[in-house]
């Protein structure tokens, strides 16, 4: 009975195995998906990298290369110089200021337009023409070169991330397989418990059978003894009785019988 009690919990485990495998099957893809998502887009969701506990990222963020340069107007003047005027003068203010200053400088001949000035004008005409004509294709070519350089430099990092992602997936898979091993252990344990139970029952049956055999033997023996004794007693009594009957006693008997019959006849 102890053994059969040992078996029972593992039997319930067998019934659980089905549900366990279902749970595992539904959890693993979700987990691996999460892992992939965390790795591919995790950098955006996480806080910026902090070098130490004292690091002040709010007032001193990490320097970062700009993609586009600060905007300029008329090719050279920073846009911030124009927006500086906006609060007081509106959008035409900076142009009014520049035009006014230029008019003042020219009219008072503070800015002297000597021969070099016209050389500058032709220089700028050529520059502007060249920029308009060759600028777009030059920038496209340079952009391509920069992109190639960046790709080359990022390739190692991207490969490493991919490798780690893959190894994490493999690790998850092997963990899942290890879980399967646990189930296999459970099944094996169950199997052994079943074998033990079977042997236990077999032996129980053997005990029952041998006890029954002995009891049957005892019964048979007693019956046989009694039969033999009875037969012997009957034989003995019969032989003794036979021995006791002599001719005299037989005749006496017959006489007695006749006498009895007469008496019966007289009564009838």
């Amino acid at each position: 009975m102890m053994l059969s009690r040992l078996v029972r919990p593992s039997k319930s485990a067998i019934s659980q195995l089905g549900t366990v495998s279902v749970v595992q099957g539904s959890q693993l893809p979700a987990n691996s998906l999460c892992v992939v998502r965390c790795i591919t887009s995790g950098t955006k969701a996480q806080a910026p990298f902090k070098e130490g506990p004292e690091r002040d990222l709010v007032n001193f963020p990490r320097p970062k290369q700009l993609i586009n340069p600060s905007p300029v107007r008329l090719g050279v003047f920073p846009d911030s110089w124009f927006t500086f005027f906006y609060n007081k003068t509106g959008v035409t203010g900076p142009y009014a200021f520049g035009g006014g200053l230029l008019t003042y400088l020219l009219s008072k001949e503070i800015w002297v337009l000597e021969h070099e000035f016209w050389g500058g004008v032709s220089f700028f005409i050529m520059i502007i023409y060249a920029v308009k004509k060759f600028g777009p294709q030059t920038s496209a070519y340079l952009e391509k070169e920069i992109q190639n350089d960046l790709d080359e430099m990022n390739a190692g990092k991207i490969n490493e991330i991919e490798g780690y992602t893959k190894s994490i997936e493999n690790e998850k898979k092997s963990q899942f397989q290890a879980e399967g091993q646990k189930m296999l252990f459970e099944v094996k344990r169950e199997n052994i418990a079943l074998q033990l139970e079977a042997v236990y029952r077999e032996r129980l049956m053997e005990v029952y059978r041998s006890v029954k055999n002995r009891l049957d033997y005892q019964l048979e023996k007693t019956n046989a003894e009694r039969n033999v004794q009875q037969k012997h007693m009957v034989n003995w009594i019969v032989s003794n009785v036979k021995k006791a009957i002599t001719t005299e006693s037989e005749q006496e008997n017959i006489k007695k019988c006749i006498g009895d019959l007469k008496a019966l006849a007289a009564r009838a």
């Binding site: 130490g52 001193f60 300029v72 090719g75 001949e109």
Partner: protein, 108 residues
Amino acid sequence: MGWGEYPPEYNARVHGPYDPARYYGKPDTAFGQVKLGELGAWLGRRNKRPVAIAQAMSRAWWQWNHKFAFPRKAGIAAPMQIVCGSMLFFYIMNYGKLRHHRLYKYHW
């Protein structure tokens, strides 16, 4: 304070990697935010030692670079600004001689 040293206010544990365009001291009001009446006091608070002036110019140079020359899609603006700036600089330098090339006698 000498050559090849960080400013004394710079602390790598707080400020992170050193950015030569950044001022690591206690910031004053930005020049664009100063009211005209407070301009004198603002100028009075400036550090006018030669080293400090050189440092300010260095920071300005790096800020200009970060804004116009170092961005990934930086265009022709930065070289053109250098061209225009040097034109202005040499014009001012030679202004004493160029003044004699004036075309008009009267200006009104």
